[in-house]
Symmetry: C2
Subunit: 463 residues, 2 copies
Amino acid sequence: MRQGIISQEVNGHQESPGAAEDEGRRRRVAVVGAGLVGSLAAINFARMGNQVDLYEYREDIRQALVVQGRSINLALSQRGRKALAAVGLEEKVLATAIPMRGRMLHDVRGNTSVVLYDPNSKQCLYSVGRRQLNEVLLDACDKLPNVRCHFEHKLTSANLREGSMEFRNPNQDVIAAKADLIVGCDGAFSGVRQQLVRLPGFNYSQEYIDTGYLELCIPSKSGDFQMPANYLHIWPRNSFMMIALPNQDKSFTVTLSMPFGVFAKIRNQNDLLDFFKLNFHDALPLIGEQQLVKDFFKTRPQHLVSIKCKPYHYADKALILGDAAHAMVPYYGQGMNAGMEDVTLLTGILEKELRLDEALAQFTESRWQDAFAICDLAMYNYVEMRDLTKRWSFRIRKWLDTLLFRYFPSWIPLYNSVSFSSMPYAQCVANRKWQDQLLKRVSVTTLLAAILAGVAIFSQRFI
Amino acid sequence: MRQGIISQEVNGHQESPGAAEDEGRRRRVAVVGAGLVGSLAAINFARMGNQVDLYEYREDIRQALVVQGRSINLALSQRGRKALAAVGLEEKVLATAIPMRGRMLHDVRGNTSVVLYDPNSKQCLYSVGRRQLNEVLLDACDKLPNVRCHFEHKLTSANLREGSMEFRNPNQDVIAAKADLIVGCDGAFSGVRQQLVRLPGFNYSQEYIDTGYLELCIPSKSGDFQMPANYLHIWPRNSFMMIALPNQDKSFTVTLSMPFGVFAKIRNQNDLLDFFKLNFHDALPLIGEQQLVKDFFKTRPQHLVSIKCKPYHYADKALILGDAAHAMVPYYGQGMNAGMEDVTLLTGILEKELRLDEALAQFTESRWQDAFAICDLAMYNYVEMRDLTKRWSFRIRKWLDTLLFRYFPSWIPLYNSVSFSSMPYAQCVANRKWQDQLLKRVSVTTLLAAILAGVAIFSQRFI
């Protein structure tokens, strides 16, 4: 293997060591990771006049034959839409997205029922392809003269204090680069964060859940969807569940989430088919037995991790955004949306023209509680989604929430505040607590009144 | 700098690739870190017949002129003593240790008062020098033919799956080594744990507290201690505190713990002396003004971190013990004791002659809840120690606990169960909860009885 060190001239600014000190001048910003959050961040930094280098360890997703290792569709909601709108890309993305108006629940007998997300104002989630969305964002990067994309650049080391990084390309060349600010948008296993974790005072936790997931597929049939397209399909089975989101090519991507212990019990084709016949009776013919067996045993179930940390920055030298800062389990559909909202909030703070270290500190301070809250909510929603079989209590609450929301617009149900508003996540949680308390008080009062009325009637009869 | 790769023959066993599979045969065990837990672990692995290589990045502490970077004395209690007794070293260590029978509290006016740890059976903590204790343990390693010590070997990389490690010596030579089992006893910032953190399913958290600490010294005077020697001295000041432990050379090592914000306000000699005159009036002349100024400004306050993780092992290939597995804030004096207890428990499990992967899994399973519990207790005790100024409630509870403990030996107060017994830490906590509930119930019942009696008397008078 050829090995060499290539010193990369970063947008022609490498010769200006004093750049960071000159607050009036724009900076050399290195964004590590050209996924959804990274490419959106690059656009925003560039629009503010910075010189942006965008590094990605994979090949250009626009040229990739197969996009591996990540779920291929995602639920875009309010926070993601707002971030896209801010850079003029919302309409372009929604044009090819598939609206999902509610959950379609599949019971063990194959019966389905629908729970709309928002029966009042008909707001919905949008199923978008990761690849399409990433392409739109990268195309927008290409149109900006001050963004330079570097694909197949894998970060191998970084010195945040000095703003220096080393990458390797597929030839194993070592590529050295420098920047005034390093922005890690490099996902749950972020290399930039790995440097932050070593700094004293950096709080960090990674928590794996005992559940693994596998992706399967319900292909299109005769050029059409095999199930109603405008829903997020759920097969809740208490300790495990399956969901399906529609794709543009009229297939569905199916995600099976189960404890590793349950996965381990399915050892061969017979186990698998028996398991599906028992639990996902209606989905089995749609997936197809042969394809199911092939896809199920092709890869091992993947782990799911929830990551919280604080702070998100180091002085005026480094910053992490998106999954690098707050990876969450995927059960609230907020991972991408929260990451994109990071960019919206950061841009808002940077536009105040504070000193950069102060601006980054303000970002951490204003963001960490909300990031922790959505990580916790995602974990909580995992239990709720699996348990939708106990759905009468869920439906009664849903009905009550919808009713109250209609007549008292300030009664925003939790799911709506998270998915269809930009209310800070922590406030969504506080809001829900307040609603729970009120409902509890009302029901206790009602119960007491009923008892008192009963006693009154009883006394009148017998005294 | 000279660089080369030296392949290290590990106790002549490197040529036996099948060693790990042969359960009857003893293993090549690499213990990384020759501190208190590492050297104790090496002794135990060697006594079970394994070939042990003990690697330490510092020089041999027995030859070191100055031991840097770690607190120089420690409070040895029951769990540490038990672990030392198991390898026949307890008496040797206690011979030079200084018993501490209780806390001596210093108030702001300089008045002192004593709270004994165990007024009933006079159990006490022992102040031991880190260096002396480490020397005793390393000397014991030297006496075992199957332990080989490698000082100035800094772990730079490890492949746990393959059992391979790379070290660097001060000449920057790369030294390659192999082992069947790698045991990380390399402290809170463990390099072995760094490998575990990357494995899917490894839960990890590091939490820094907002408090920093600095070490100061009360030297001996005319060949004697300047304060009563047989106590752990505490200056509790609510949001901060100072403690002092006696050393063999008749000095005291003083540890000042304060929020970083308070440290930051002390910018010069005048600030410092004013601060000490106000808060540690009686300690100031003992430390000496000049020495205080010198020591205080010599180093920056150190961070304190609490680390929890799970599991502690990887298959039959790697294991972490002590601070590497559960670093805690130092306020329960259990860091070293818990680490040594790890070794006791592990040895007990290994002696059952299970398959190694099963034995290590059993160690994780039987240890993590207790490790989490002592990390939490240490955090909780930090608040208790600082707040001892509110000491009437503390003393009343202490008095009640002592009384109950005397007449009902099963009523073991929390501090005693942690420091003077081998009760699993989690059980110590459960025990305390049960005691709290009982006391609460008794006091509510007493209060009710008093009210009823009052009502009865009142009725008799007025009806």
